[in-house]
């Protein structure tokens, strides 16, 4: 049971405020929440906070705070799930979720909240059912972008860009205007994997964790049925064996309740009638047993001269992806001993960048081709660390406080588990137009790829 719900901008301005039960506080509750949040001591968690018989539970989503208050001892899991579901829902209806779209669509948001919650109790959160009740249309902002210009084409000629889904195509409201009959029949299927890795200083692998999900965003008319074919060698659990060779193995799989698994056992086909909007079709996890090689290897060498306090770090980063693939937005974060000053660098290519900040070295590499090798030589002074070394090992050993290095990156068109979508077919469409645009994307990313030094 929720007493109030509100959305705050990242600066604490209330954007949406709704009181469901009229039993508590007033609008200043939102302000109170923000004051409490910013004044919280470092060792306390902000997720759940308490004030005057009222619990504040919030999530942060793309810079916004979505907050619910309740006076009962509720299940934190259900409430947090509800808040993230609301975030997805608002994203579905407003195109994307951010401060601007919310403030442009205040009426629509209130209308949605009225339908989703009554007297603080959840009624329904299905995009499909809610569509029947929502009258307001989303106001979509079209930010000026060079990308749009480039797709206009010279003298109306068809350019290559038209065949590529623009990156903003998936972020439009589900409920685009009813009158607009030229509405595109589109469906987006994303296989997204999140990788977290820990590599010991001797190069041995300590931990691999892959969290994957298959996300579907459908703009097809409701009632259409589709089939998603996964790689046939896909095995679940340690013991199952399929196809030849090692297969593609995951530890655990869970499916959305609307997925029909009749053909899953035999052909690895998922059948479903997706509602419009976003849906997580399948989630899976995999740990400790990866069939493909890891995308990156780091070879560090550290020279430290205790006497002068000079620290020299040579980093060699090797990308073990297949030569046709590439990694994007690689950022290496290397904590340094306290008191480091002056950085001098020698990087292997001009588009890289390195800088000091918050006691760490940041090395940015916009793009790395598979099979290639990049290096950087960094020299810095650590005046605070010199002095009488009573009990140090050899003089060139790495000082304490250096490392571990963490990488964050994106690997487009690559899944670490090897799972691929073989096909996506719309087998039945009520409007008769069974040839919608289908976009299938594969992506791996990581923000916790840690290599000890």
């Amino acid at each position: 049971m929720i007493s109030q719900f509100f959305i705050l901008s990242s600066k604490g301005d209330p954007l949406i405020y709704k009181d469901f039960r009229g039993d508590s506080g007033g609008r200043d509750v939102a302000e109170l929440f923000y004051r409490k949040l910013t004044g919280l001591p470092g060792d306390e968690s902000p997720v759940v906070m308490h004030h005057d018989d009222r619990h504040f539970i919030h999530i942060r989503h793309s810079g916004l705070y979505l907050v619910a208050t309740t006076s009962e001892n509720v299940s934190p899991f259900s409430l947090l799930e509800l808040l993230s579901r609301l975030a997805t829902l608002l994203g579905d209806y407003c195109g994307s979720l951010n401060e601007e779209t919310i403030s442009r669509n205040v009426a629509l948001v209130y209308e949605l909240l009225d339908e989703v919650l009554d007297y603080g109790y959840v009624q329904t959160t299905s995009t499909e059912i809610l569509r029947n009740f929502i009258q307001t249309e989303a106001v979509v902002s079209k930010p000026f972008s060079l990308f749009d210009l480039s797709s206009v084409g010279l003298f109306g000629a068809e350019t290559q860009q038209n065949k590529v889904a623009p990156s903003s195509a998936a972020s439009r409201p589900v409920l685009s205007s009813r009158s607009d009959q030229t509405q595109k029949n589109e469906v987006f299927l994303d296989v997204v994997e999140r990788l977290s890795v820990l590599i010991a200083s001797n190069g041995s692998l300590l931990k691999v964790d892959v969290q994957g999900e298959i996300r579907l965003k459908s703009f097809l008319p409701s009632g259409s049925e589709m089939r998603i074919g996964l790689t046939e060698e896909f095995c679940v659990g340690k013991s199952e064996l399929r196809g030849y060779g090692p297969g593609i193995r995951v530890d655990e799989v869970s499916f959305h309740s609307s997925v029909n698994l009749d053909e899953f056992e035999s052909h690895r086909i998922l059948r479903l009638q997706p509602p419009q909007g976003e849906l997580t079709v399948m989630r899976y996890q995999l740990s400790d047993d990866l069939s493909s090689p890891l995308p990156f290897r780091l070879f560090p060498s550290v020279q430290w001269d205790r006497g002068s306090g000079r620290l020299q770090i040579y980093l060699k980063l090797r990308c073990d992806l297949p030569p046709k693939s590439q990694a994007l937005n690689i950022r290496l974060h290397l904590p340094l001993p306290r008191g480091v000053v002056s950085l001098s660098q020698e990087l292997s290519s001009p588009d890289q960048k390195a800088e000091l900040g918050e006691g760490a070295l940041h090395w940015d590499l916009p793009r790395v081709q598979g099979g290639s090798q990049l290096s950087g030589l960094f020299q810095m002074d650590v005046p605070g660390l010199q002095g009488p070394p009573n009990h140090g090992p050899s003089a060139s050993a790495a000082p304490l406080g250096l490392g571990p290095a963490s990488l964050s990156f994106e690997l487009p068109r690559h899944t670490c588990s090897g799972l691929q979508v073989r096909f996506l077919r719309v087998s039945f469409s009520p409007s008769g137009n069974a040839n919608p645009h289908k976009w299938v994307r594969h992506l791996s990313h990581s923000d916790a790829y840690v290599i000890r030094i």
């Binding site: 997720v47 509720v74 934190p76 799930e81």
Partner: protein, 663 residues
Amino acid sequence: MPYLGSEDAVKELKKALCNPHIQADRLRYRNVIQRVIRMPGVQEYIQQPVLNGLRDKASYVRRVAVLGCAKMHNLHGDSEVDGALVNELYSLLRDQDPIVVVNCLRSLEEILKQEGGVVINKPIAHHLLNRMSKLDQWGQAEVLNFLLRYQPRSEEELFDILNLLDSYLKSSSTGVVMGATKLFLILAKKFPHVQIDVLVRIKGPLLAACSSDSRELSFAALCQVRQILHSLPGHFSNHYKKFFCSYSEPHYIKLQKVEVLCELVNDENVQQVLEELRGYCTDVSADFAQAAIFAIGSIAKTYTDQCVQILTELLGLRQEHITTVVVQTFRDLVWLCPQCTEAVCQALPGCEENIQDSEGKQALIWLLGVHGEKIPNAPYVLEDFVENVKSETFPAVKMELLTALMRLFLSRPAECQDMLGRLLYYCIEEEKDMAVRDRGLFYYRLLLVGIDEVKQILCSPKSDPSLRLLEDQAERPVNSWALDFNTLAPVYGKAHWAVISKCQKAERHDSELPTNASFAISGHLVPEENKKVQEPPESEALMLVPNLQLSAEYFEKTWLSLKVAHQQVFPWQGEVQPDTLQMALKVVNIQTIAMSRPGAQPWKAYLSAQDDTGCQFLTELLLEPENSEMQISVKQSEARTETLPGFISVLETVIGTIGDIKS
């Protein structure tokens, strides 16, 4: 809608509400009920449309009408429960529409709040269980929560229910999985193996939630993991890697993970866990670095050597925020594990240059005082402190310095005499803080009495391994927290939750206070004690031997070898004041072996007593922060049940009296 306040508007509204067409348009109906229901003065017109709405053909209208009943009831406040309405709502539990069913439960719960909420009997429970699959995840989670209050009649029925629930443990929604788990834990409270089995099965979903994309969800899951670890310490030991932190995570998640790592450490993973924790000690965030050092300190209670080595290495960093915490950890460790004293003493020299804060200085000075004979340069370090005592800002440091120097003087008099004189002179003549001055005077007069007296007073034991008995987290049964599972309690943490629930309780108990208050004024503790104890001597003629002296080691050994003979809870309010309690117990010839410091959670104390036949009574007092009860467990060295009631009643009197005076 400001215009609704006017006469005309109300009239218009009345007309609209009487219009039969209003229910034909479900959207308009819903809007009227939802928005208007809070307006003053229109409720009487709303009633009929709501009641009609309960029988409407459209399920959408029924959903709104069912909740409308609850709204109407809450608005009237004082109105009596309408029996006919309640019956109608109960019958609507059989509705075709799943959302109507869930709304009925919610509505009944609110209407019948005074009588303990909606009643779940066998037919309703079975009906709900059968409809579960038709509900969406929110409905399922809520119904699972309502089912908690159903008690199956027979074992057979219970296992039927558990079988039905099985599939919900695999749901893709974490909320449903947790709800189902809680129901399992509560229903199977007499079958520990079933409980364990369930906890094993939700390991997967729980770990997935821990590494979820949503930080908030992963935080809640981590808190839940810690709760499970209290009962099953080895439960997640194989998955320790899942709890390693990554630098991009927010602070509150890292702290939780470090706590979890501390609790799941075992012989196999201790090496890897310590290596990981050592990496955190040099983190950019000082708070996180200190938390990691404290974590290593708590692991050191079991794996002393490895941890002391890591902590010693950290001193080499010469960072203020690290050194101070390491020294504090050393102080606590030396007290609990005397075997590491040598290693600690070797590591200490040089630390004093990197400590600036009060806590760290106190710890260092204490260590130098107590173990000064093993640290060659201890007098010179203390001398520096004495030189700078004028510019010292913390009185606590000065007091610690006085005591330490007195102790060191006893073991190394030649090196200390001169500076002790200077320090005492300064404290007595120049110091402005009264507590420090008094302490100085006290030591000065003590020295006048004679060196033997000084030794007797200052040479207390240098370690107390038996304290580990207090610190050891005894494995608590699953049932002790099953009710808190999947609630906000674990997310707030035990201590914080205790404060919150105390606030809520205090508000409720405000009216009852005066009766207790009169008692609190009524005079002295001890005389009353005597009176009361002597009153019921005829019960079993229990005579406790005065001045019994049991050693802590003996107590620990005996305690572990015996079974609990009697367990009971007494009412208790607020915190314990150990001195008062200890004195009161001494009056009735009960010896206090060990006690937690005041305010510790949970607070524990160990007591012993012996009667004239030589039978020993060993007792544990346990005060859990969240419930206002003192739990006592008594063990007897000889199984003589006839003296037990006498002993219990003595204890009860003492605890009752102290508890009353406190409140």
